[in-house]
């Protein structure tokens, strides 16, 4: 279960015609990569999102991000770059963080997807969500869901991370408002709180 999807949107694109493009200027490369994927067959997809089963017909080119935001109506993951460069669309796929914009929906057949809405709610927030508010680790808040899920995955594998480890875990998440230093503090606070709960 705990594995990266067999193929992502990037490998899919590569399969099409990307290989010979690597020497072109960035702009041209970008345009080609961004050209719409060809429409394809639809297939039935079944998966679990934040504990809820979802089943429906999905086109081959639909990304997990597109599915979550536009078909399922989940406001957790955000669309910022749609190209795997910012981490705002981060979700947990079978327990591992992925950029939902670079993951094809059909590669998630039978998978378990958790978004920021799945780890806590305003009523029962996760300690990370509480710590982000307490330390004011967000301004506009658009990067926040992705930041929280990257931090969540870090704390799952490392209950007591160093500052450096936190920085590394968040290296794929961009914040334009500049909240990083407060995010580090919030993650440390949440880690301490989670350890306290575990030891109780």
């Amino acid at each position: 279960m705990d594995s990266i999807p067999p193929f992502s949107r990037r490998t899919f694109l590569k399969g099409l015609s990307l290989a010979p493009l690597t020497k072109l200027p960035a702009e041209v490369l970008h345009e080609r990569r961004h050209a719409p994927l060809p429409a394809g067959e639809e297939e039935i997809l079944q998966l679990q999102v934040d504990g809820q089963e979802w089943k429906g017909k999905v086109e081959a080119r639909t990304t997990l991000l597109d599915l979550l935001r536009n078909r399922i109506g989940n406001t957790g993951p955000k669309e910022v770059c749609d190209l795997g460069a910012c981490g705002a669309c981060t979700v947990l796929l079978n327990g591992r963080t992925v950029n939902a914009c670079m993951t094809l929906a059909l590669a998630c057949q039978g998978a378990t997807v958790v978004t920021v809405r799945g780890i806590g709610s305003p009523r029962y927030p996760h300690p990370l969500q509480e710590a982000f508010v307490e330390d004011d680790a967000l301004q506009c808040g658009f990067c926040t869901p992705g930041m929280i899920l990257s931090a969540f995955a870090l704390l799952e594998r490392n209950a007591n991370p160093t500052r450096r480890e936190i920085q590394e875990a968040l290296a794929g998440n961009l914040c334009r408002c500049g909240t990083y230093t407060r995010i580090f503090e919030a993650v440390e606070r949440a880690a301490a709180e989670l350890r306290r709960r575990r030891n109780k």
């Binding site: 960035a26 957790g76 955000k78 910022v80 795997g84 910012c86 658009f142 334009r176 990083y180």
Partner: protein, 750 residues
């Protein structure tokens, strides 16, 4: 002159009559204040807060009210909003920098699968002025289908080869002569002269805004013909006005919603063409349309901070006096917008540059967090620093000699907290360990307006159940507007903040300002206070009436009703008496008084480490002393200062729009090739809020979003100068530029 002694107590007591004709308050900073006459012009205003006011909630750490909604993913941003039957739009952009649309054929797109509407932005015969200009927009059932349809549109351009995408080269040729760059460490440190006369040039890059939430709106026409817009905007009322004009509707028939939004930094202060195209598509399709610009469109067409070029000639004497200052500057705002720059003219002897904008065939500049300031301050603060270096004076001392008393106070305060004496490298260009990192410290000052003052109204309702509702239709761009509404109301009424329900981002509510120029808080806070003040007074009126008591015997203090100065009713008990109709009061924003000082001042100190082998600059620590007026909420205020510093650091070291001038094309239109500072590059950041009360309005609040981003790049550049022993004249301070200077002055070896 009556003394407002009711303000000196911790809990505010409502007087039984309007405040006296004339009130004077103490304004300024602890240790640097004076009395200011305030209320002649507006006897109905709430009594002003002063430097002596003891607050209950104001200035404490109140968590941002919408923080939890954002952190749990339930907050609905305009780009998250999905009304039923929503269509998605995509935009076709010009691939050429200059020319005309010769032919345009949209017929195949109109009949493409899933397409419901097509809108032409640049018609046949119309001018194209940059790569990325909007040509056609399509709305379809999904965005993929809209993008498919774009590929079916045929456009023939009549390209004009005589374009200039990068006029900076033209300007460089016109620049007066500059001094030869120092060829050795000894030469760079040349000091001990009676006078230093320098002629130097400086250059800054184009910076892109890249707010994480893209520009755009979701719009639809209701059956009655009125227009609904969910907009990611910095100005809900500006959006309402623009859309009303574009569609010839009375503003009352355009409703704009921005409950939360994902950043703008100045680039969302206008209703761009994307908003109008979206509503056009919605009108044609008869359904809601979602049009949010993709990242490439953001990079090409949604604004930028223009690049600049400076030439400065300055002279200073051994005593640290600036004797002469002459400057020329150029800005390169693209095909439109302003490239003007601002210099720190609060230094005695520093004068504004003669400025010219040169237009070129790239996307237009837009306001970007303190427009013109980081550019101009980088150049001027670098020059000031270099003058100090050349006459052999500590740059801190040199600055203290040349600034106003507020900056001088802040410089001393900051230097002490930062440990300037220990950090400033007395031997620039030398490392304690051979081959080891070069260390240095630098500083720079800032000043910005941010006093607010647009007309604004705020509605305050006290309900029978004891909750208080406060409303203004302006938006929150991430600064914490909603929290400001709640804190000021709770403080004024003396009640727990949990009672307050704050509503923003809806044009059906009273008008508020656009979030530009750091004006949202200083514009709204006085109106919030006024509204809560009036509502509190009416509460007392109603109780007096109900209980048949003389109105004069009642007062409101610490959220409790007093009768003849003794506890009488709790706030809840009092509210139960008001009857089913809530108390409703409209507060207004009076004009500013002459406060303590015009604008907010600040300074920043940076500590860097430069690797002499690679030229990589690592910022270790930044300390900011920032005047914020009355701090309404400590946490969110500090966050703004930290965010401004991080954006300044990113500008200083990484961000740069690269251009292929021959093709007129922007390179790196995604977030992978346009580098923005990330978690790995974060220094320790210490924001020191230089609390004061500016005396411009009844709260003494000031705006803080922009001022702390102004000096960061200059402080870092000056620290690099102190570390390596010579100056890098161009931003960003990339490894190659730093290494070139190191190689030059060290003769290739360190």
């Amino acid at each position: 002159m009556s003394s407002p002694n009711n303000l000196e107590k911790k809990d505010e007591v409502f007087p039984t009559s309007p405040p006296s004709e004339q009130v004077s308050i103490r304004a300024g900073f602890p240790g640097l204040s004076r009395m200011i006459e305030t209320s002649r012009r507006n006897p109905n205003d709430a009594p002003p807060w002063s430097l002596d006011t003891k607050f209950r909630i104001v200035g404490t750490e109140v968590p941002r009210l919408d923080g939890l909604a954002k952190a749990t993913g339930v907050a609905v941003y305009p780009s998250d909003f999905r009304p039923p039957k929503l269509l998605f739009a995509a935009i076709l952009r010009s691939p050429i920098p200059k020319g005309k649309v010769a032919e345009i054929d949209i017929s195949k797109a109109e009949t493409a699968k899933g397409v419901l509407a097509v809108a032409v932005a640049t018609n046949k015969g119309r001018q194209v002025r940059y790569v990325g200009q909007e040509i056609v927009a399509v709305a379809a059932e999904t965005r993929a289908l809209a993008e498919d349809a774009l590929a079916k549109i045929k456009v023939v351009f009549d390209a004009d080869e005589a374009f200039d995408a990068d006029p900076i080269q033209k300007a460089k040729a016109k620049l007066p002569e500059v001094d030869a760059l120092p060829a050795s460490l000894a030469e760079a440190g040349a000091n001990g002269k009676e006078e230093a006369v320098l002629r130097m040039a400086f250059e800054t890059q184009v910076q892109m805004h890249h707010p994480l939430e893209p520009h755009g709106v979701t719009a639809w026409f209701k059956p009655d013909g009125s227009l609904e817009v969910w907009a990611s905007t910095q100005g809900t009322f500006m959006m309402q006005r623009s859309m009303a004009q574009a569609f010839r509707l009375p503003p009352s028939r355009v409703h704009v919603m921005t409950p939360v939004m994902g950043g703008g930094f100045g680039s969302k202060l206008q209703a761009g063409i994307e908003a109008r195209l979206c509503a056009e598509l919605a009108m044609e399709a008869g359904r809601p349309v979602h049009l949010f610009v993709d990242r490439r469109g953001q990079a090409l067409a949604m604004g930028n901070r223009p690049s600049s070029l400076h030439w400065i000639r300055a002279k200073a004497n051994r005593q640290g006096k600036i004797l002469d200052w002459e400057a020329e500057s150029y800005g390169f705002p693209g095909f439109a917008g302003s490239g003007r720059v601002a210099y720190p003219t609060f230094y005695r002897g520093v004068r504004r540059p003669r400025h010219r904008d040169l237009r070129g065939n790239t996307g237009a500049a837009r306001a970007f967090r303190a427009p013109g300031h980081p550019q101009g301050f980088f150049a001027a603060e670098s020059m000031i620093d270099e003058l100090a270096c050349r006459i052999g004076m500590d740059p801190l001392e040199f600055r203290i000699k040349n600034v106003d008393p507020i900056h001088a106070m802040q410089l001393k305060m900051g230097a002490k907290a930062f440990g300037w004496k220990q950090r400033f490298n007395p031997k620039p260009g030398r490392s304690p360990e051979p081959g080891g990192p070069l260390r240095g410290a630098g500083l720079a000052c800032t000043r910005w307006g941010g006093m607010g003052g647009a007309r604004a109204r705020v509605l305050c309702r006290i309900h029978q159940d004891g909750t208080v509702e406060v409303r203004n239709g302006a938006q929150d761009i991430g600064t914490g507007t909603r929290t400001v509404l709640a804190v000021v109301t709770a403080e004024t009424l003396g009640v727990d903040i949990k009672r307050i329900r704050a509503h923003i981002g809806d044009t059906r509510d009273p008008a508020g300002p656009s979030s530009g120029g750091s004006t949202t808080t200083p514009t709204l806070a006085p109106a919030i206070r006024h509204a809560a003040w009036l509502a509190g007074k009416e509460l007392l009126d109603r109780i007096a009436e109900q209980k048949r008591l003389p109105r004069k015997s009642l007062s409101l203090k610490g959220g409790k009703i007093l009768k003849d100065q003794k506890a009488f009713l709790s706030f809840e008990e009092a509210c139960r008496l008001i009857g089913p109709e809530p108390i409703e009061a409209m507060g207004q924003r009076y004009r500013n008084w002459r406060g303590f000082a015009g604008g907010v001042a600040g300074c920043q100190f940076a500590e860097v480490e430069v690797d002499p082998e690679t030229g990589i600059v690592q910022v270790k620590r930044i300390l900011a002393v920032q005047d914020c007026g009355t701090v309404i909420d400590k946490k969110t205020t500090e966050s703004q200062v930290i965010g401004a510093i991080i954006q300044g650091l990113s500008y200083a070291l990484f961000e740069e729009r690269l251009l292929d001038a021959k093709l007129g094309r922007v390179l790196g239109t995604d977030l992978e090739h346009y580098r923005i500072a990330g978690s790995m590059e974060m220094p320790e950041i210490i924001p020191i809020l230089n609390k004061g009360c500016n005396g411009h309005n009844n709260t003494g609040a000031a705006g803080i979003g922009e001022p702390p981003t102004i000096p960061t790049s200059a402080a870092i550049a000056n620290a690099v100068r102190n570390a390596i022993g010579a100056r890098v004249h161009q931003l960003p301070l990339t490894p190659d530029r730093v290494l070139a200077v190191i190689d030059r002055i060290h003769g290739g070896k360190q």
